[in-house]
């Protein structure tokens, strides 16, 4: 219901820098995921948005309004906390009713809204319990319930479904996304689970060590990671990132490695030569590789290192010249451990990263 601009925001805790020079624009009604590993400053960003933490430098705008100085209650936000933050002396129903009661909503409406939210979250049978009598996942759903009973300008979710089991988590992803789209409430959603971010977000902000790495749509983040860090963090199983040397043979660039050589052409070739770099990281996702027991021209030769079944797919790790390629293939693949095998690839899906800076050079 309002656009959010985070402009040159820094967060210091004493000497520690939790967030560095963050710039983010969330459009009105957009679902933005802040994705990053533990300790990268996601919660700090969230808490600054909520007004629970002082903004050390820079400013945050809701619409055109600077909100640095606004108290949380005046920001029209609703937040799910990482650690639930339920009121232990209140029942589940009272917990969920709290924001409505603060807003002075009449009793009948409160009861109805709480019941609706509880049904949606499948906690309607727990309404009379106290938080101590709930499991972690149930607490988390109460915390979500407390947020979705009303329709604020901004939803803030700090890892709201991290403690649910896989099945329920998948359900909640759909429900939250659905709810958000229906209500059109601008949402900032913090998670360390890249799958969650990819599946829910309109745009993802990937953070690492307090620095924003990349901000873009899930497709952009997935297919055009700006650096090796993003490439390695997003996607499961992770992208293969193999260190290779650049060489030229008859003016044609190629990547050499102890186990293989890759001839580059077209765009990739130009890019490889442009930077004059000696070493590059060759990146390709496991699903863009094919493994076979039969030799084919240009294929990388290696031996099967492990086989891991991922439900419908098989993850084969292939050792070649001290490095490993992860390949996603069908469980029908017959290669046993230590058998020689051949990996073929499509350069259209390949990425090149500078070995020094880690930045994508394509």
């Amino acid at each position: 219901m309002v656009a959010i601009s985070i402009e040159n925001v820094w967060k210091y805790y004493g000497e520690t820098v939790a967030v560095q020079d963050l710039n983010l624009e969330c459009r009105d009604g957009e679902f933005v995921c802040v994705l990053g590993p533990s300790g990268c400053g996601k919660s700090s960003t969230m808490r600054m948005l909520a007004g629970l933490e002082h903004i050390s430098a820079g400013q945050i705008l809701f619409g055109d309004k600077r909100i640095n100085e606004l108290a949380p209650k005046d920001r029209d936000i609703a937040m799910v906390f990482e650690n639930y933050a339920l009121y232990p002396h209140k029942t589940v129903a009272e917990n969920m009713a709290n924001p409505l009661r603060m807003a002075g909503v009449d009793k009948a409406t409160v009861t109805k809204k709480v019941l609706d939210a509880a049904k949606l979250l499948e906690i309607d049978h727990l309404l009379d319990r106290k938080p101590v009598e709930l499991s972690g996942g149930q607490k988390q759903r109460v915390a979500i319930g407390r947020v979705i009973v009303r329709q604020p300008a901004v939803y803030l979710f700090d890892e709201p479904i991290a403690h649910l089991d896989a099945k329920l988590r998948a359900r909640m992803r759909t429900e939250l996304k659905h709810l958000q789209q229906h209500q059109g409430v601008t949402t900032v959603y913090v998670t360390h689970d890249q799958l969650e971010a990819l599946s829910m977000a309109d745009r993802i902000a990937v953070m690492h060590d307090g620095v924003l790495q990349q901000f873009g749509t899930p497709a952009e983040i997935y297919s055009n990671p700006v650096n090796t860090w993003v490439a390695g963090f997003v996607g499961e199983p992770t992208m293969n990132l193999i260190l290779t040397e650049v060489a030229t043979e008859a003016d044609r660039p190629k990547l050499t490695h102890k186990g293989f050589t890759i001839d580059l052409d077209g765009q990739l070739g130009e890019a490889a030569l442009r930077g004059n770099e000696k070493a590059l990281r060759f990146g390709i996702r496991p699903e863009n590789l094919k493994v076979s027991l039969e030799r084919s021209p240009g294929a990388i030769e290696g031996t099967v290192y492990t086989r891991q079944l991922l439900g419908s797919d098989l993850l084969v790790e292939v050792e070649t010249g001290n490095d490993h390629f992860r390949v996603r293939t069908s469980p029908a693949f017959e290669g046993e451990v230590d058998r020689p095998c051949y990996i073929s690839y499509d350069l259209g899906h390949a990425h090149l990263f500078s070995a020094e800076t880690g930045q994508s050079i394509v």
Binding site: P72, K73, A78, F81, H89, L120, E122, R146, H178
Partner: protein, 333 residues
């Protein structure tokens, strides 16, 4: 919108059922429950403590009952009078007035101490001077009640008392000392008690405030609460058990400690401050009617115990602790 969501839900559960992997439930129990480990030796370990306690509390208790049923005097041997001592209490105006005054005194002290104590604690909590100020506040508490009484006796004094002069200059008091006027004497005592014991409430409340979870305060702020609202809906329910302990301690002390009253007014002027414990003191140790004194003491003891138990009950009852910030819900036990 709700409709579509609900439809979605229905389809979800349908999927779950279709798969047919509803969890298998056992509908029978184990043949026999394993015995829980017993701890017998702890009775043995506690025996010496229990016996000592019995000797120092139970014996005097029965001695009190014995005295209350006799006419006890120092010179002659005790004479059995049955319930006579008790029967005579009902016709004793000083006794009934003593109760009324005690209730008034105790209520005034408790209310003021809790109010001021909690407000002080909230102001002090997290302030820069917290440590220094807490130490300063502790001083009255460390003073013996008799000494406190004497100090205030001088401060209140009609001719050279500094406070008397202060009150007089503001126009609250006339010529007579606060303690010499029937209308104000009680207030004089209440002020001393509040002065001496509010710090205790502050201290206990501070300890409670330190344990109010920050995340609940934050969640409540995001839910739309201002700081005052935050205090009543989150802090207060959290410090409520601490406050109950403080109330329990203070009310029992009010029923027992009369040191400063004896120093300041001795029950006067007239009978304006002769609260029941003071009257009890007079009967027993001024007029040496030990039997009657014991009867008064016994009634006082019973009421104290009953009130104390009620408070402890409230304290133990988890439902009462809900309180949800609205005071009053807690006291209608």
């Amino acid at each position: 919108m709700q409709k579509t969501l609900r439809a979605k839900r229905a389809s979800f559960s349908a999927i779950e059922e279709d798969h047919g992997y509803a969890a298998r439930r056992l509908d029978y129990g184990p043949g026999a429950l394993n015995e829980e480990p017993k701890r017998r030796y702890h009775i043995l370990l506690m025996a010496p403590a229990i016996l000592t306690l019995a000797a120092i509390t139970i014996y005097p208790f029965f001695w009190l009952i014995y005295m209350s049923l006799h006419k006890v005097s120092v010179a002659r041997s005790d004479r059995w009078v049955g319930l006579d001592n008790y029967a005579r209490l009902f016709g004793d105006v000083k006794y009934t007035d003593g109760w009324l005054l005690l209730v008034k005194y105790s209520a005034l002290c408790l209310t003021l101490e809790i109010l001021i104590g909690v407000v002080l604690a909230v102001i002090l909590n997290g302030s820069r001077f917290e440590k220094v100020l807490v130490t300063v506040f502790l001083m009255p508490m460390m003073m013996s009640p008799v000494v406190a009484g004497l100090v205030w006796y001088y401060l209140y004094n009609g001719t050279f008392g500094w406070y008397h002069w202060l009150f007089q200059s503001i126009g609250i008091l006339g010529e007579t000392s606060i303690l010499a006027d029937i209308d104000t004497a009680m207030w004089g005592l209440v002020i001393v008690d509040v002065w001496q014991w509010t710090p205790l409430i502050t201290l206990i409340t501070l300890a409670g405030l330190k344990r109010v979870p920050q995340d609940q305060l934050e969640a409540n702020m995001v839910d739309g609460a201002g700081s005052l609202r935050n205090f009543f809906t989150v802090s207060l329910p959290n410090i409520y058990p601490f406050l109950l302990i403080a109330i329990l301690l203070r009310f029992m002390d009010n029923f027992r400690f009369i040191d400063h009253i004896l120093v300041l007014t001795g029950g006067g002027p007239g009978n304006a401050t002769r609260i029941l414990p003071v009257y009890l003191f007079d009967v027993s140790f001024q007029f040496f009617k030990l039997g009657r004194g014991a009867a008064i003491a016994f009634t006082l003891l019973i009421v104290t115990i009953v009130l104390g138990l009620i408070l402890v009950r409230i304290f133990d009852d988890p439902k009462k602790q809900v309180a949800s910030g609205e005071a009053g819900e807690t006291t209608d036990d």
